[in-house]
């Protein structure tokens, strides 16, 4: 049961606010380490939160239908908080994206063992919601993700 004043509930609310505040630039996907860094910046040194705390808070919020989800990648985790949850294909591609930073349709198809058409469809959705951006000055066109782009995650 959730009580108002529950540590994880309050943390969850702070996280939601952070996700809403940053979604204009990352499309609703944010690295767990970025969440930790930003939230801990505002907390007293003796009151810091851990990634376990974040994961627990997301789980509690899901009970309330928040639509937030933690996804593990090879080396880290990210949270998404957009309405209309991401499909397996979306999260799989994002896991790949977190590892490589940017991708082309070919490189993704080859790494994931998918058809190019499946990659294209998946990317289309991510482009539409601003999670992925396309770079037409790369040959062939490449796709980047602000949520996993270092200068973006550390920007004010």
């Amino acid at each position: 049961m959730l009580g108002v004043g529950d540590f994880y509930y309050e943390l969850g609310v702070q996280m939601l606010e952070l996700c809403v505040a940053t979604s204009y630039r990352n499309g609703g996907v944010i690295l767990l380490e970025e969440v930790l860094r930003r939230l801990n910046q505002r907390r007293r040194p003796d009151n810091q939160i851990s990634s376990d705390d974040v994961v627990r808070a997301v789980k509690k919020l899901r009970v309330l239908g928040s639509g937030m989800e933690v996804v593990a990648t090879g080396s880290s985790q990210f949270i998404y908080s957009i309405p209309g949850e991401l499909s397996m294909d979306h999260t799989t591609l994002l896991q790949q994206a977190e590892t490589v930073g940017h991708m082309t349709v070919c490189s993704a198809a080859s790494s994931l063992g998918w058809t190019q058409e499946r990659v294209g469809r998946t990317l289309d959705h991510l482009l539409r919601v601003g999670i992925a951006w396309r770079d037409d000055q790369d040959r062939p066109a490449s796709f980047w993700f602000p949520a996993f782009f270092q200068q973006c995650t550390t920007a004010e």
């Binding site: 940017h102 951006w133 396309r134 770079d135 200068q151």
Partner: protein, 175 residues
């Protein structure tokens, strides 16, 4: 002058490609407009010429080999014009004044300076205003002549000044 701090978007290669989705593009244009205005202010850029804009550092980041294409630059400049930060010099829309401050904001700053330097009811030349020693510490020092004139005209309209012509020179009497 402190070195201009580029925002994260400037290092992000796709920033230099106009994004296909309308909502994402709107966010992207917000960032482009903010960047051009703050860069212009930091570097005292008062005019942008569409045909030369491609070589401006703001539209071209050599470190990542990306440059906003000319039609992208035109979209950004049109957006700046819509937001009142750019004023085309004529209908051809080839050149525009970059207004990181509106002419009336400049006018107010100049008038305050005139008050604090005892210039009210005195005549001074336009040169004194944007190039003279006494304005060296002012933000409007070095202001482009055409924009200066627009700024002073806003003062004229509100009865705070009177523009004067002395043949070769132009002067102004603060009231």
């Amino acid at each position: 002058m402190a070195e201009f701090e580029w925002p994260w978007q400037y290092s992000f290669p796709p920033f230099f490609t106009l994004q296909p989705n309308a909502d994402v593009r709107r966010t992207q244009l917000d960032s482009w407009c903010a960047l051009v205005v703050s860069w212009g202010k930091s570097n005292s850029v008062s005019q942008i010429d569409v045909t030369e804009a491609s070589s401006l550092p703001v539209f071209k980041n050599n470190a990542i080999s990306r440059a906003l294409p000319v039609d992208g630059i035109k979209v950004v400049l049109d957006e700046l014009a819509k937001r009142g930060n750019l004023e085309w010099t004529d209908k051809t829309r080839r050149r525009g004044y970059l207004l990181w401050r509106s002419p009336s904001e400049w006018g107010q700053q100049i008038y305050s300076w005139a008050q604090s330097t005892s210039r009210i009811n005195n005549v001074c030349t336009l040169y004194e205003i944007n190039q003279g020693d006494e304005s060296a510490d002012q933000e409007f020092h070095g202001l482009d002549g055409d924009i200066l004139l627009k700024a002073l005209k806003t003062l004229e309209v509100t009865g705070k000044a009177e523009l004067m012509d002395f043949g070769d020179n132009q002067g102004i009497k603060f009231l």
